[in-house]
């Protein structure tokens, strides 16, 4: 009956505990830059003038708040509006914490230099409570429940991750807490059963495919396409959309392969795809799989036009691919802070100055920081255009954003709107091409405009599944 077993287990457990510790610490390496996330988010490029604007908001009946529990002005007190966020600050995806630096820099700038955000003639300081979920949806639920029930936040801002947002959208909906600019390009945010969640301005993944198909129809209308995609919903968004979009065009799909996101093994898939000698290679991958694939591709003797998910366009990831990333095509909804041509831009100047001032540790030339900055600017823009500071009013304003321009690091000339039926923001963006010699992406052709088309091009199951 004594613990004979314990003696035997002790060394084993020590090993596990050490393994846990290492696992926990092991990812500090890449948190400086980098971007991208599994199915979500990521940086992109950008620019422009300073924020703010005109439009939106009237009290239409976009949101039904009759059954809402709680006070509609929860989180607003003493001249402060309290918001919450949950994003990875530890674990494998800790690099997303850089988004927070960009957002905090913008909020500090607004709070300290502009006196706060002005809603209906009154000024409010913005307080952001940031929780860590290590990219684990279960922890996101715990965090968001705590933020809404305990911290009594007004709403959520920039919750990162597709699964993480899916896991809380029911709760957010029931509690009528606006969840603004959910940081993921997944098509699920178009689901009309969940009006309290608004996706961000990242290019919706299916729209990336529309842009690619249009580009190919123009340049190589009879191209064959080989696809390598992640074996999850993120990869499926690319594959299923592209399959439906090539119908009726001269384009053909030569082969489709998937890879396991957990292992990132891609060598044999590349060999198989290279054997098709297709004209175009679509890479529906994210994170380190992107440079890995590009490096494998270089050694395969196959030289297709390469299109890569917008989630891969980070400086760090492209740096890993080095010369092999040259000529890769992707999309970008914001100005690229790494592009010296943007340095003289007014919005970029402000961004560089304030990030250096308030978040000196952040790498301002990293697109993911620029993303956080721009998301914060969008939030402030939305609040300032709300007729009053209630949950319903702010959500209605967000739902009716129209022709937003020059907010954060938006592309010059681009405007974003949330359509009545098409709930996606990032429908104007650039098609961009990477230059390995320069180390940044530059626009290919003019601004791409796909207003109100995301819902249309996306297979219905991806939106309402």
């Amino acid at each position: 009956m004594r613990n004979l077993g314990a003696n035997r287990l002790r060394p084993l457990v020590l090993v596990f505990v050490l393994a846990l510790v290492f696992a926990a610490c092991g990812d500090g390496r890449n948190d400086d830059e980098e971007s991208s996330g599994d199915d979500d988010d990521t940086e992109q490029t950008t620019d422009d003038t300073v924020d703010d604007g005109e439009e939106p908001a009237e009290g239409s009946d976009l949101i039904d708040a009759t059954d809402c529990p709680g006070d509609p002005t929860t989180g607003v007190a003493d001249g402060t509006i309290k918001l919450g966020t949950s994003l990875p600050q530890s674990g494998l995806y800790a690099s997303f914490a850089e988004i927070l630096r960009g957002s905090q820099a913008y909020f500090s700038y607004v709070n300290e230099e502009l006196g706060g955000v002005t809603v209906n003639g009154e000024q409010y300081q913005i307080e952001l409570v940031a929780e860590d979920d290590a990219y684990d949806a279960e922890q996101t639920v715990g965090n968001v429940t705590g933020l809404v029930n305990d911290d009594q936040v007004f709403g959520l801002f920039n919750v990162v991750g597709t699964k993480n947002n899916l896991a809380v959208r029911e709760f957010v909906n029931e509690n009528c807490a606006p969840s603004l600019f959910a940081a993921t390009g997944a098509p699920a945010w178009g689901n009309h059963e969940y009006p309290w969640v608004l996706g961000t301005f990242l290019v919706p993944y299916p729209l990336e495919m529309q842009a690619l198909v249009d580009y190919l129809n123009e340049t190589t209308p009879d191209a064959s396409i080989a696809i390598l995609a992640a074996n999850d919903d993120f990869g499926a968004a690319y594959v299923e959309t592209l399959e439906s979009l090539v119908e009726g065009t001269g384009l053909t799909i030569a082969a489709t392969e998937t890879y396991d996101t957990a292992t990132g093994e891609v060598a044999s898939q590349i060999t198989t795809l290279a054997a098709t000698d297709a004209d175009v290679f679509l890479l529906g991958a994210t994170l380190t799989a992107c440079p890995t694939v590009l490096n494998e591709l270089a050694g395969s003797g196959w030289d297709p036009i390469v299109y890569m998910s917008g989630t891969c366009t980070s400086k760090t990831l492209m740096g890993l691919a080095g010369q092999n990333g040259d000529g890769v095509i992707s999309v970008a909804p914001l100005l690229d802070p790494a592009d010296p041509a943007n340095a003289s831009n007014e919005a970029m100047t402000l961004y560089n100055e304030k990030v250096a001032q308030y978040q000196p540790e952040a790498a301002a030339d990293n697109g993911i920081v620029a993303y956080g900055w721009s998301a914060a600017a969008m939030l402030v823009y939305t609040l300032e255009n709300s007729p009053e500071l209630t949950r319903e009013s702010v959500m209605e304003t967000a739902r009716s954003l129209t022709d937003v321009s020059d907010v954060g690091l938006m592309l010059p000339g681009a405007t974003w709107s949330v359509g009545a039926d098409d709930w996606f923001l990032g429908e104007q963006f650039n098609l961009v091409q990477y230059s390995a010699a320069d180390g940044f992406f530059s626009a290919v052709g003019d601004l791409k405009v796909y207003d109100d088309q995301t819902e249309e091009v996306t297979p219905e199951s991806l939106v309402n599944g």
């Binding site: 314990a6 846990l20 684990d136 705590g146 029930n149 074996n231 599944g465």
Partner: protein, 368 residues
């Protein structure tokens, strides 16, 4: 006579357990000043979820203890059984419209069957090799869910609606132990999850207590300590080992099923499943292997220590804020190492040692 004493003993045991929980809750809620700063604000709704979480982690750990502590078979794949239980309940409720309660035993039984299926091949390997085989289980499980679960938004996540995890209508018939002092914070959903977890925990403790004192329990230990000797005295080695797997999987399944009441979802990722498996093992060892109460105590220590460390802004503020959270898992790991150094045989083992040395010291002068 001894029977009566025993029965009285365990009744006292679990009444004491429930009372201790209730007392702990009262203390937390009513002496806010005392505990402020030591724990997360106790008046918060999420604190009760933390209790529930500690309970279901404890249930799974007690089950794992039967396999690992009593029977000596190391499993680092119990996160998978836990996940099967969570998915079983979530799928039955979400896709088939079941109420929650009937899914609880079904989730356990499904895991029992899976446990038998895994236990049979596991007969052929021992020690580290078995650990690797079970690790494989934890690694394969998330992939299987990705392939076969058609969940929310095309992912392998199943997110439940509030009405699906709400208490049944008869729950209102019971007096409100927790909500009374906390009406503004705690909803009936949180309490329902908590009390249900308490009920299952009590049933688990009673079951494990009986197993540990039964013929089967002695067989488990005999097989652990000396397999061939056990066989020579008539123990059916294979049946004992497979049963241990099945029972431990059953409890992991119950725990997984309970977890959906708190987390509102069933989900599986490679990192999360592996971490959970290790967490369960840590709870067993921290509490005390092959003891009835150890794993439950270990679960409380592990869950609350983790929460406590996560909330230590003073520590983490010293570091650069966006990266500060990177440190909390490491701090947790360091705390565990220190704990294992101080109490190598776990909390219960250490307490027993302490009591023994106390009584020896007291006895000494009399002998002299």
């Amino acid at each position: 006579m001894t029977q009566v004493k025993r029965v009285a003993g365990w009744i006292l045991g679990f009444v004491g357990f429930a009372a201790a929980l209730l007392l702990a809750w009262r203390v937390f809620t009513q002496s806010l000043d005392l505990f402020d700063g030591l724990f997360n604000d106790p008046s918060k709704a999420s604190t009760i979820d933390l209790f529930t979480e500690a309970l279901y982690i404890g249930i799974a750990a007690m089950g794992l203890n039967i396999l690992t502590g009593y029977n000596g078979q190391v499993s680092i794949g119990h996160g998978a059984f836990f996940g099967v239980g969570a998915y079983a309940s979530a799928i039955l409720m979400f896709d088939h419209g079941w109420a929650y309660l009937p899914t609880l035993p079904i989730a356990g039984l499904i895991c029992l069957v899976v446990g038998i299926l895994v236990g049979i091949p596991a007969l052929r390997v021992k020690g580290l090799y078995l650990a690797l085989v079970t690790l494989g289980l934890a690694v394969v499980f998330p992939d299987l869910t990705k392939r076969f679960v058609d969940g929310t938004g095309g992912t392998n996540l199943i997110s439940l609606k509030t009405e699906q995890i709400s208490p049944p209508y008869w729950y209102d018939w019971f007096p409100d132990f927790i909500a009374d002092p906390l009406t503004d914070y705690v909803g009936s959903r949180d309490q329902w999850a908590f009390w249900l977890a308490v009920a299952v925990a009590v049933a688990t403790i009673v079951t494990v207590w009986f197993i540990s004192r039964s013929r089967f329990g002695r067989a488990l230990i005999a097989v652990r300590d000396h397999e061939s000797a056990a066989v020579t005295v008539g123990v059916n080695n294979a049946r004992v080992k497979v049963s241990a797997f099945a029972i431990s999987a059953f409890f992991a399944g119950l725990a997984g099923s309970l977890s959906v009441l708190v987390s509102r979802l069933a989900n599986a990722g490679k990192v999360e499943t592996f971490q959970l498996s290790i967490l369960l093992l840590v709870a067993v060892v921290v509490g005390g292997t092959a003891t009835v109460w150890g794993p439950m105590l270990g679960a409380f220590v592990v869950v609350f220590a983790q929460d406590y460390i996560d909330e230590q802004d003073t520590l983490t503020d010293l570091l650069d804020p966006p990266r500060a959270k990177l440190m909390s898992p490491a701090l947790f790991g360091i705390a565990l190492i220190i704990l294992m150094y101080v109490l190598p045989d776990g909390i219960v083992g250490g307490a027993r040692r302490g009591l023994r040395s106390l009584s020896r010291r007291r006895a000494a002068p009399i002998d002299a």
